[in-house]
């Protein structure tokens, strides 16, 4: 089967073209070793089926970003039969810059001139045959969106793939072309493939080439000493980039004849996009507008009280049918909670579409479990395995799907419309202070809803380091499933004048404060002082494409389901086994969870958690401590299980005997520690190898460390209020001082690096 590679700038319509060509056949993976999407699919309308590989969107074949290195290695090593270079006709100059580099490789190239319909509409004309002649490769005008001329494009590509093509360069600078020729000869002598491409990259002093061919650098250096350009001295990298652009404006841009009506006095087009941008990135209104958009998204996805109809208008729904409709048959459950008194049952406001769908989805999966359970013999271990183990575990994981999809629907729309790039533009300054980019805001905010889509949303962060930091900070943002823990602990908290509301508030705000401090320290302790550049195209706004958005959602869903069916399912089975069997598991399942392996592990673990107060009064290591540690373990399935297990083990508002210090310690531990398996699975999808394990370690160390400090200081408050306050002040002082010292050192290091 022939392989065609799809290469082009970001925002050139590459995704749309790929989706149009491959239809439903596309599948997504990662390129080995990195988390850049690798997408492949088949085109079936030619005489033979052709495999299409979607290379990451790139501006150049420089060696500096993983996307560029992947694309370059793919074309050089995997030798596709043809490269389809998609070029945005409305932005010809910059798009052809990549084309000039692709043409230097010994591979057939076909240029797909996209958005020609938009171009024609605006009255601009492009002379395709002239452009094709000058480039020396076929050029096909297409519209990826309207699927115009795609068959013609593929036929041209198929024909081109039958003929060998030798690389060609446009670098005409006389002296430099002599040097390039000499290096090409040297490469040919070594038997290297694609000599022209390698020669030019070596002349540019490309990192990859210089390390691969140290023997040939001498040639370049020798020539360099004799060479002097008026503008660039002997900086060949600059000279070559400049030569490319000059050549493009001189030779290729003439293929376009602009409609004079499109130019205002400043020779700048005033487009619809500009008008939208005037509002959305307005100096004063940009941030308020952004906040409103974010609020709407999260409100629609996660709110249990849409439009605050309960909070503002006191809306309560008491009609059982209506409650059942809004909560996915939840009336019975609410009745049970109210102790069977129908008068007490009221739904506080109308749930958002996200919560609404989640309830019904939960009802559907719950009914399925009941159905399966009903059909199986009662009381056997395998019924329990399937119903209480696998299905219940999967139910916890699958129940996130509606909210994941809704959140990603919004994110996909924001991304596809071009607004996401503006968000980064607006917020970059503030976030950079913490070593994060403006784009990190959306994943972090999503973290308050659910860590799973939040971690998956870090995919939009280009820089691996920023992505890793953002994922690691994710547990600082208390997700929705942890709320029952705060509710339970808040209900018992009458210690030291603390009330429930204040307790929950302190958990949320404390989490954010820790995230800020940790982000600062991560930035300061990071070994390389290099800040990733923020040199980014702001694409024109356009209406999101239904097809692209759906394709995006489907990819996320598939990714999530795969994780759910593998790693997450395996983990839930293990927990099921631990909580249903004793060490003598051959004797069958235990009646009382207190006899299970889980309970024993809980009992063993309490020694490990001893320094954290073991979540009981003082360091007494009382009889209930194993129950807290057991619920920490089951919390790995889903954070809702923490409270569920506590209740199962008899820890309720009436029986929990934690003092303030222990309660805070337990709460803080649960806040920062490893999230549920679903979120761990999501992290595994975004991080590779060592980074993933470091993330797990980080989560664990962070929760243990902070919990330890909280417990010690908390005990001091119990013993003597003044001592507690004093130590708190000292600790905050220490953190600030450490920050100042490290940042000074950091600055020094930065100066030495620059010098």
């Amino acid at each position: 089967m022939k392989n065609f590679a799809l290469a082009g700038n970001p925002n050139s319509g590459k995704t749309t073209l790929f989706n149009s060509l491959t239809g439903a056949t596309a599948h997504v993976g990662n390129w080995p070793g990195v988390t850049v999407d690798k997408r492949e699919g088949q085109y079936k309308k030619l005489e033979e089926v052709v495999n299409i590989v979607d290379l990451p969107g790139i501006y150049s074949l420089s060696p500096y970003t993983p996307e560029e290195v992947i694309s370059r290695n793919y074309i050089l090593d995997e030798k596709p039969d043809c490269v389809i270079n998609i070029v945005d006709a409305t932005n010809l100059e910059r798009n052809l810059y990549l084309t000039t580099q692709l043409l230097e490789i010994d591979v057939p190239v076909v240029v797909a001139l996209n958005m020609s319909d938009v171009m024609r509409k605006s009255g601009d004309k492009i002379n395709v045959s002239e452009l094709s002649k000058k480039l020396g490769v076929p050029v096909v005008e297409i519209s990826a969106l309207k699927e115009e001329n795609l068959d013609l494009l593929m036929t041209e590509a198929y024909e081109a793939s039958k003929v060998k093509r030798v690389g060609k360069t446009i670098i005409e600078n006389k002296d430099l072309s002599h040097l390039i020729k000499d290096v090409v000869i040297a490469f040919k002598g070594k038997g290297v493939e694609n000599p022209l491409f390698h020669a030019i990259k070596l002349v540019e002093k490309d990192e990859i080439e210089t390390s691969n061919h140290p023997d040939l650098i001498g040639m370049v250096e020798e020539f360099k000493n004799t060479f002097e350009d008026d503008t660039f001295g002997n900086d060949f990298e600059a000279l070559i980039a400049d030569t490319r652009y000059k050549y493009i404006s001189k030779n290729y841009s003439t293929a376009i004849s602009k409609n004079p009506a499109n130019l205002d006095s400043n020779h700048q087009k005033v487009t619809k996009s500009d008008k939208i941008d005037k509002v959305l990135t307005h100096r004063i209104w940009a941030i308020p507008i952004f906040i409103v958009i974010m609020f709407i998204i999260f409100h629609v996805t996660f709110s249990e009280d849409i439009l605050f109809m309960h909070r503002i208008f006191g809306l309560n729904i008491t009609n059982p049918t209506a409650i059942n409709f809004f909560t996915g048959m939840g009336y019975e459950g609410m009745l049970e909670e109210a102790g069977g008194i129908a008068a007490d049952v009221a739904l506080e406001g109308v749930p958002s579409i996200g919560v609404f769908l989640q309830s019904w989805f939960g009802w559907a999966t719950g009914s399925l479990i009941d159905l399966v359970g009903g059909a199986m013999p009662e009381g056997t271990w395998y019924t329990s395995l399937i119903c209480d183990g696998i299905l219940t575990g999967l139910d916890a994981v699958l129940s996130f799907i509606p909210q994941i999809l809704i959140l990603f629907l919004f994110i996909a729309i924001l991304e596809d419309s071009g607004y996401m790039a503006r968000v980064a533009f607006i917020l970059d300054r503030a976030f950079r202070k913490f070593g994060l980019s403006g784009k990190a805001f959306i994943p972090m905010l999503s973290g308050f809803g659910c860590s799973v889509p939040a971690i998956m949303a870090t995919r939009t962060l280009e820089n691996e380091k920023e992505k890793n930091r953002t994922i690691r900070l994710m547990t600082c943002f208390s997700c929705g499933a942890k709320a029952p823990i705060w509710a339970l602990l808040g209900a018992i908290g009458t210690w030291a004048g603390m009330d429930g509301g204040l307790f929950v508030f302190s958990i949320y705000v404390g989490g954010i404060a820790v995230a800020i401090v940790l982000a600062l320290f991560m930035k300061l302790f990071s070994k390389d002082t290099y800040v990733s550049p923020f040199i980014m195209e702001l694409p024109s706004y356009h209406l999101p494409q239904f097809r692209n958005v759906m394709a995006h959602l489907w990819e996320k869903l598939k990714h999530y389901l795969t994780k759910a069916a593998t790693i997450i399912a395996a983990c839930t089975i293990v927990i099921w086994f631990l909580s249903n069997f004793s060490w003598a598991f051959w004797n069958g399942m235990v009646e009382d969870i207190g006899d299970s392996i889980l309970a024993d592990l809980g009992r063993g673990l309490r020694y490990f958690y001893y320094p954290l107060g073991c979540f009981e009064n003082g360091w007494t290591n009382g009889p209930d401590s194993w129950k807290y540690t057991s619920s920490i373990i089951t919390g790995l399935i889903a954070k809702e299980d923490v409270v569920a297990t506590m209740e199962q083990l008899g820890l309720t508002v009436e029986t929990i005997a934690l003092n303030g210090a222990a309660a805070y310690s337990f709460a803080v531990y649960n806040l920062f520690t490893l999230p549920c398996f679903a979120a761990i699975g999501a992290a595994h999808g975004e991080q590779k190898g060592k980074e993933f394990w470091l993330t797990l370690l980080f989560w664990f160390a962070m929760s243990y460390g902070i919990s330890l400090v909280v417990y010690f200081v908390g005990e001091l408050y119990v013993v003597a209020l003044w001592a507690g306050i004093l130590v708190t002040i000292v600790l905050i002082g220490l953190v600030v001082a450490a920050g100042i010292i490290v940042s000074r050192r950091h600055k020094k290091a930065e100066i030495t690096v620059q010098a």
Binding site: S60, T231, A241, D242, Y245, F425, D428
Partner: protein
Amino acid sequence: MRKKLSELAIGETGLIVGVEGEGRIRRRLFDMGVTPGASILVRKKAPLGDPVEITIRGYELTLRKEEAALVVVELDGGND
């Protein structure tokens, strides 16, 4: 008059005459079309004054002040 791109006010236009810096930031600027001889227009600054948005080679590019400080621009007109 020559100025750093980071010092240009909104609405000012000019011709790039030099790009300083080194390594990947510089290369990235080149790859995005920020090369000597290209004409630019400063369109906008973010609410906190940084990054800036420019028009270059017919498209919109955003870059931080510290990166814009590497770009030397010959201002058009000369009245300002």
